[in-house]
């Protein structure tokens, strides 16, 4: 070889990329393969990551370069579709919204599927029980027989009344962070109540009485213990517990 005096570009390129520091990070992932017949187990992967990388990027690196069998959901990868909710270091987060550098990369980062829903494979859970609760609160506009000739008008103040709960992306981070939901699948869960709130407080909607009736059930809002896990978990910053309390208040004013 004649060119052995040349600098090693690979080493320096690995350390920084576009001026961003790189570091090694270990992901401790809860694996489960239903076809193998084995119980779920932990597997560790160590990958090279940049300071700008999110947990999702590390998962991509593992899936694309290390172990293609790793299974997880993601669609938009930008915090809008709500596909990649998972339990990261014991907290429900969207993998696409958590930067690795914010998680203390010196220690292994644990990643599990969200709790309380049946695991299908690795980080993918069966969302059907979650959506069943969502459908039960009738998440659509219910109006009376008198259809206006023009559009249904709403003042900015009336719109602001339920603005917070319109932000829900149905990622199930809140519902699967709720201990009542973990032990009792009959509970509607925070996400269903948030979406009921979105219509109950909509001035154009006329189905509030029916929705309150449904949520007044034994498994409805009264099972909420106001422990704020859902508010902490929500990737959209919805004040979930506050919304649930507002639904409770609406029921009390209705009953007395």
């Amino acid at each position: 070889m004649t060119n052995d005096t040349a600098p090693e570009p690979a080493a320096s390129a690995q350390a920084t990329s576009g001026g961003v520091d790189a570091f090694d990070v270990t992901l401790r992932i809860r694996r489960y393969n239903p076809e193998s017949g084995d119980a779920a187990y932990w597997e560790e992967f160590t990958v090279r990551a940049l300071r700008t990388d999110r947990v999702l990027d590390a998962l991509h690196t593992i899936k694309w370069e290390v172990d293609g069998s790793l299974t997880f959901r993601r669609s938009c990868a930008h915090g809008i579709c709500g596909s990649d909710a998972m339990r990261i270091n014991g907290r429900n987060r969207l993998a696409c919204k958590v930067l690795l550098k914010d998680l203390d990369p010196s220690r292994p980062i644990t990643i599990e599927p969200i709790k309380g829903l049946p695991v299908v494979k690795d980080l993918v859970v069966d969302m059907e029980p979650f959506f069943a609760s969502y459908r039960e609160i009738m998440p659509f506009l219910i109006t009376g027989p008198n259809v206006p000739t023009a559009e249904r008008r709403q003042s900015p103040a009336e719109r602001a009344r339920y603005d917070d709960t319109t932000k829900c992306i149905l990622c199930a981070a809140c519902t699967s962070s709720c201990p009542v939901f973990w032990t009792d699948g009959q509970y509607f869960g925070p996400a269903a109540i948030v979406n009921a709130h979105r219509f109950i407080f909509d001035s154009r909607d006329e189905g509030a009485a029916q929705r309150l009736e449904i949520l007044n059930d034994r498994e409805g809002v009264w099972r909420c213990r106001t422990i704020f896990n859902c508010t902490e978990a929500c990737p959209r910053g919805i004040e979930v517990t506050k919304a649930i309390q507002e639904v409770k208040r609406a029921m009390i004013t209705r009953a007395v």
């Binding site: 049946p118 009792d184 007044n216 059930d217």
Partner: protein, 152 residues
């Protein structure tokens, strides 16, 4: 080709059943009761503690005669009765909630709740009985068992 058995993935808990809406406000009233009775109990219990332990001669004044004297007045009968009932319903409803939240199997839930309701009934019945039938100087009792203020 070998027969493949269909894959069954167990749900971590009871799957959602089609529910029948209960159409009663039972849970609502239970929730409101917990808040209301909590506020009343704060007044009743701290009043009770202050009058028994701090006011007057303080803790040294408490004896059989002190309790007998209090229950001679209808005010303290009502006060203690309210305290007993509210505390017992409040506490029982709270424990009922905890059992509902944490006992996953129906059998466990039934056993725990039965024990809870039995304890509730015994305490409330006995307590109520004592408050209303309390007689410090029962007729015909041995003189050495009676307190000093009883007529002999």
């Amino acid at each position: 080709m070998a027969e493949t058995t269909p894959l069954v993935i167990e749900a971590p808990r009871t799957p959602a059943r089609r529910r029948t809406t209960t159409r009663t406000n039972y849970e609502l009233y239970g929730w409101v009761f917990m808040r209301a009775s909590g506020v009343v109990l704060v007044v009743l219990i701290f009043g009770h503690l202050f009058l028994n332990l701090i006011d007057g001669d303080g803790i040294s004044a408490i004896d059989f005669g002190f309790v007998a004297g209090k229950w001679a007045s209808p005010l303290w009968q009502v006060w203690d009765l309210l305290m007993l009932w509210l505390a017992m319903i409040h506490g029982t409803n709270g424990v009922r909630t905890i059992i509902n939240d944490y006992a996953e199997r129906t059998g466990t839930r039934v056993v725990l709740k039965s024990a809870l309701y039995l304890a509730f009934t015994v305490v409330v019945v006995l307590g109520t009985l004592v408050i209303f039938t309390f007689d410090p100087c029962p007729a015909g009792a041995a003189a050495d068992l009676l307190p000093s203020f009883c007529p002999r």
